[in-house]
Symmetry: C2
DNA sequence: GTATGATTAAAACAGTTGTTTGAGTTTGTG
DNA sequence: CACAAACTCAAACAACTGTTTTAATCATAC
């Protein structure tokens, strides 16, 4: 519950956060018990409720400590693009790169924990828990609004609904790509080595291809 | 545990399966209790263990009764394509249409339960439970092998690793698109009405755009 | 050193989990 | 009708859930 205090406790806090991040990623929210987290972190069971208040609040803190950073960096990248363009509309591919490239760079950081977190994030997009969805939506709101506005301006001739859908599809491809590479080995066998580093460039060209694809036939009304 | 028997029990069985399908979709495997399922199905708590053996086996049966059908239809569509081509290599877009279009048509069937199931399936790709992943991988193996082989033959000049990745990305975009339309409202507000019917054509043109995108720069080795 | 507050520790809390039991009811067959 | 199998039911099982409590330990300022 405390904000932050002596060095004694900040160690316990971050040990809990690290263990929780890895375990939530592996087993989901409902599948991860407090006893599992505290055992892996090497702290007492009551420490979670003492430091975070509840399991839900711990979960939110696991996200907040990284997601705030991620979305801030995304917005900074967009700011830089707009400053560079000086009022002129941006290239859609640059916008997409700013949003997804930033995330993919975080996912490539294995030692710092960014990789684990991005896998957790990818899975959490489809988490069934209500409070998780609402929390994520709030945490994303500002960043998504900024990027959608930029895309609307960059593609004035395209219906906004279509841009929304494409953005949605791109989110899905990225989430799944990050969350699923070593999770569900549906395409078993052939993925293994050397690849994670090149995931970013592969995914990015796929996303841009999808973004640039001709709009679908509206079909029979 | 029984294979199938009197009309008394097949009603109980399918009532359980229907309730479980909807609840697993809404709350996930760990988040759905047996008491919740049996209450919604209007049957006794012990009925699940009696008819299916365990919660895990019920979960698998929820998938098997629809997934077997889906993948069989996919393979039939591919068979039809190959018969029509008579030995000539297929157009990649036709292959992709056979795989994803079949799924999207199932997802468009709201009354028959296909919609609910496909949303469940989309979420389950990133389910953290071990037995779920292994079960899905087995259930998909034959179908995925057939379609990958077809894509390899249709795109002989493209490295197989690249095809694998693109297939992976396409799976992600579709899963997320189906599972997430009314789940995580990250792109809140603007999706609502009239759209679900046109999801298929929108997604398909996005997927094909991604599939046709120029290959990524291999980058620094 | 002693007092003060922050942190940790072990134990217990009430509630929920999936599963099993054993008696009851229904169903189909001779 | 009688018999046996299939099925349903309420109750209980032990194990586990997140949380709280109470006492012990630690760090720090006076």
């Amino acid at each position: 519950m405390r904000e932050d205090t002596s060095k004694h406790s900040i160690d316990t806090r971050s040990r809990i956060l690290d263990a929780a991040e890895a375990l939530f990623m592996e087993h989901g929210f409902d599948g991860t018990s407090m006893r599992l987290i505290t055992a892996q972190a090497g702290v007492n069971l009551a420490a979670i409720n003492y430091h975070f208040g509840s399991k839900e609040l711990l979960f939110q803190e696991v996200f907040r400590r990284r997601l705030t950073d991620l979305n801030r960096r995304r917005i900074e990248a967009l700011d830089a693009l707009e400053a560079e363009a000086g009022g002129a509309p941006l290239k859609p591919s640059r916008i997409v790169e700013a949003f997804f490239g930033t995330a993919l760079r975080m996912a490539a950081d294995v030692e710092g924990g960014g990789h684990t977190f991005m896998r957790l994030l990818g899975r959490t997009y489809t988490e069934p828990n209500d409070f998780v969805r609402q929390f994520l939506a709030e945490e994303y709101a500002e960043c998504v609004d900024r990027f959608l506005a930029a895309l609307y301006r960059a593609l004035p001739e395209v219906a906004r609904t279509e841009i929304l859908w494409r953005f949605h599809f791109m989110m899905g491809a990225m989430s799944y790509a990050i969350a699923g590479t070593d999770a569900l080995q549906l395409l078993a066998g052939k993925f293994d080595d050397e690849d994670p580093a090149r995931l970013a460039s592969r995914l990015m060209s796929f996303l841009l291809g999808g973004l640039r694809a001709p709009l679908a036939d509206p079909g029979p009304a």
